[in-house]
Symmetry: C3
Subunit: 437 residues, 3 copies
Amino acid sequence: MTVTDRHYDREFVRTFFTSPTAVEGEEDSARLLESAARLRGMEAPDVWVPDNEDATAPSMREEGVENIVRVVGEHGDEFPGEIHPRVVWHRDDPGTRHTGFEHMRAIADPDEGAGEQVDGFVIPEVGDLDDWKKADEFLTIVESEHGLPEGSLSMSVIVESAAAEIGLNRLREEMGKPSNNLERLFLLVDGEVDYTKDMRAMTPTGALPEWETLRHNTSRGASAAGLIAVDGPYDDIRDVAGYRERMEANRALGMTGIWSLTPGQVEVANRAPLPPASGHWLLEVGDESVELTTDDSGTLVYEGDDADLEQTAADTYRLTIDGRTEEVDADELHERLVDRTSYVPGLDDIVDSMEEFEAAKEAGKGAIAMTRDATLQLGDTAVDVSRDRMWDEATYQAAQTPILVFQDVYEHRPDQHDELAETYGADVVERATQVGN
Amino acid sequence: MTVTDRHYDREFVRTFFTSPTAVEGEEDSARLLESAARLRGMEAPDVWVPDNEDATAPSMREEGVENIVRVVGEHGDEFPGEIHPRVVWHRDDPGTRHTGFEHMRAIADPDEGAGEQVDGFVIPEVGDLDDWKKADEFLTIVESEHGLPEGSLSMSVIVESAAAEIGLNRLREEMGKPSNNLERLFLLVDGEVDYTKDMRAMTPTGALPEWETLRHNTSRGASAAGLIAVDGPYDDIRDVAGYRERMEANRALGMTGIWSLTPGQVEVANRAPLPPASGHWLLEVGDESVELTTDDSGTLVYEGDDADLEQTAADTYRLTIDGRTEEVDADELHERLVDRTSYVPGLDDIVDSMEEFEAAKEAGKGAIAMTRDATLQLGDTAVDVSRDRMWDEATYQAAQTPILVFQDVYEHRPDQHDELAETYGADVVERATQVGN
Amino acid sequence: MTVTDRHYDREFVRTFFTSPTAVEGEEDSARLLESAARLRGMEAPDVWVPDNEDATAPSMREEGVENIVRVVGEHGDEFPGEIHPRVVWHRDDPGTRHTGFEHMRAIADPDEGAGEQVDGFVIPEVGDLDDWKKADEFLTIVESEHGLPEGSLSMSVIVESAAAEIGLNRLREEMGKPSNNLERLFLLVDGEVDYTKDMRAMTPTGALPEWETLRHNTSRGASAAGLIAVDGPYDDIRDVAGYRERMEANRALGMTGIWSLTPGQVEVANRAPLPPASGHWLLEVGDESVELTTDDSGTLVYEGDDADLEQTAADTYRLTIDGRTEEVDADELHERLVDRTSYVPGLDDIVDSMEEFEAAKEAGKGAIAMTRDATLQLGDTAVDVSRDRMWDEATYQAAQTPILVFQDVYEHRPDQHDELAETYGADVVERATQVGN
């Protein structure tokens, strides 16, 4: 075993869903906890976070602890995801840390309802690694008091200070040291609102900066230490397109998971890292990649006004893209179109490619060309396009990540099997669970 | 007290203004020092740097030390900002370091003119932290020789080597160690010209790379260690728009301050981090955010050609933006416009929002919606737009940064009070100094 | 000597060219090695890498070692670049590391053919610095066994894991420690395919992410430790424009070298970091920088449709750029054009500027203005443009990097002298080799 082996069942976490633990003025202050506990399938998160910190008013947090104990005790057994309550903590305030300690003791008590159901705790506002070790030590004491094995409660942190971001560089080496139980670490979650405050950053409209370097560093820290990186909340819950874009950018950084504030966001974020049900072609025009539609005969059709093609002689074409027109022969045309097109594979395509490469490897080949053909119509002219890509062992392994996500979901979320079969078809699901093993 | 408490009066530094200490061929070689020492108000920097390094020819640097002693001795007492001369230093050259030491000894001598007026020194060309410690040790010796308390002279460094950039990661932990006085650190200033040389970077035109990762890391190092980050010089002093853009990008990284080469740049850079006197709306069209104008009736008007709106039926609109036209109902229209618009709050708006949130918190509410309404005219059609944003404690605190800048300026720069009152009105200035306390 | 003095002859490496060591099913499995060994001039790389890892099928790697021994033994003496075979290695697999050790022993054996010719080894898939030290120790043992001085074999690594990226921060301080010979380090090479897998990153089309932060960090690590940074392979070997763009972006990060997969890529990559043979002007229109052509009279002509100029009165011009038209006077016009134009200096221009600055420095001046004049024709109207830039010692040194590259190439690659003379003219080459010394 190496340190980068993950210490958890889950290899990936798509969704981190927070619920207020106690809401003032409601008949049942635990109403939101209760309804979250009943989520199933694509609306249920991989990690559910009863949030006794920012989502809950300070005056309600003692009642919040009681609500967690009761609601998680009652429903935790049936809940399809993991359960990681967030408690209060602050690197600069020992009083807050003490309160967080007492809340963890109470929630983890196996003689009360929630003890058996809680997988770990989320610690916000951590500072440098010595601060993380304080939370780790409190968890060790809680385990000792309650007769739990050391390290059995996991710990996730919110990275929302410069000191915590810098600490990510040393996680891997600190996790092996004998005087801590940092192997209990699970999720590294970015918290951009408080990070913005800690960095004292300002934008004219008050919008949050992108913080791409923070997200890179969090993802990198997770990769080096065998942990899982999760992005912070996306506040504008109506903006589904924006949420999807953010997740796509995150995945390109190696950050598969994201915070969700509503069951609607959970569903979008549970589906986003899984490959699409069917593949499609893109054409680059303007600054965009436009999805091509397929007509009845299977020809790809570009329906916009930014590209046109005309055949002017046997081997001469007039190609207009982005306002530039040029005369090209068939080979040049093909080259232009290969440059401008790309293919987004569906789950079945990925499975096909992996199986094809595995068969080739079996037959003693180290690298093969994967070819994808299509007929593309621009204006009134249709031409054939053939794209190929060399696959070797490294390509195969890098392409495998979406399949590993899929398999991890399939293994740990039986409550989503029906929805997966509905989306992809039972046959593709079956093959996707087998490929690469 | 935690390490991230700042050790200085100033919480923010907007401007770092360098002056040559001795210019050859002038009747009075200290002429530029003299005129800088007389700056007041918005033209006077937060930190004035008599520059005995790159701005002064090597042959003039001994005379430069004498000029600093004389001019700072004469005018320092009246100067409204802090005074931090830059001396020579190089990580790879002990001779240069020795000279820097001797210059600091001479300038800090309390029996000569400048000793009492100098707040600290700026050390360029530092390498890894062991190199920073050499400069720190020389300052400790200077303090010892002159009977000053250890750590009373501050030290700022120019981050202009890869080794220094990497060193930023360890500042926080090194600053607490008993064998150094690194708590004297004040500013971390990027020096992109020499950094470009140290990184051996090249661009076709010889223009400097953006070095955004360097600026992120410097800002983050400052945040983790309780210091203040400042960006390097902007050479094209005629390009005010470019200077403003750079500062806006810097603030989004948490870097509030910037180098200034002229009193004109000082004035622009002193004003830039302060909120505008009045708010305004932006509309996203093309790749730009266009400021909307307000007509006599208070309606926001977009005057460009890239957006148009027409009402075609009771609940049907034809919206054209960026060359795309779509038919939408009133709800969809509102959603599109909310997505496309944003509001840049003025100082009064920020004060209003903070006061509103404080009142809500007082009344026991943890989160409230802040709403902003406007009537927007596109083409000949006017529609109402209502944007809201949830504020909780974290939003409040992140939004507070511009107010903290304002209050810091107000406290430390009485010479700018008149100009602030002229810009914002005395009433808003008064409320802005009180809010949040 | 400081740690950042480089330990190698080469100050820069432009090209890192890998060849499979043994190809199955060929009559001569070493055919590709043989042909690579015969490359000369611009098609020959600065560093040639007989690749016994990913480019060679696992079943062929023992034969690959024999081929390296034979072919490098036969041709190495004549080969104009350095020779650094890549062996197998993996941070998580001791069996692979052991095999890599045995392969290095065999290849470095001075009693066999290649021993004398091999400059060092390339170690892929390294993890944190303790893993780098294992490879270093194996090299020390190989040196000991073969009677070579400690540290005489260089070591280059492929940075393709998060742990290795983080390790870059500590290279500088680890390299001085008495229990290792890490001073043997030479190249830090990014490996984006495996890094993508290690980070578990995903993109919709399977294209590699840009990984700009990784490249910054690799370049920075090289700068801090006196090493040389090289970017990974660019798979689409037909896309020469894309390859050039990637290299330009790399150079702006301080990363001069890049992997090459074919002699064609080698030639492009050997030429890319050298200044162009003659300078040219750029005009910014749209989102692009368009190269201006020069007509017979030496006037710069913009031939596109995105800018137009008309003189409407004695001191009034109508300037149209990017769809916006404004009336300006001559001064404003000049300012607009200065903002919109830039000059890409040729090798002769850089030499001229450096010589001019050196002469000024000799004459006691610390800073001079460098002026560049041109006549620019937009539409039917021609106007004079004069750009100036202040040069001081720091500007001079930062501008010197392309000359240092040129001089390094000239010194170490006599086989490219003819092609350099052909490109630049013998006189410019002669001056470029002398300037700055």
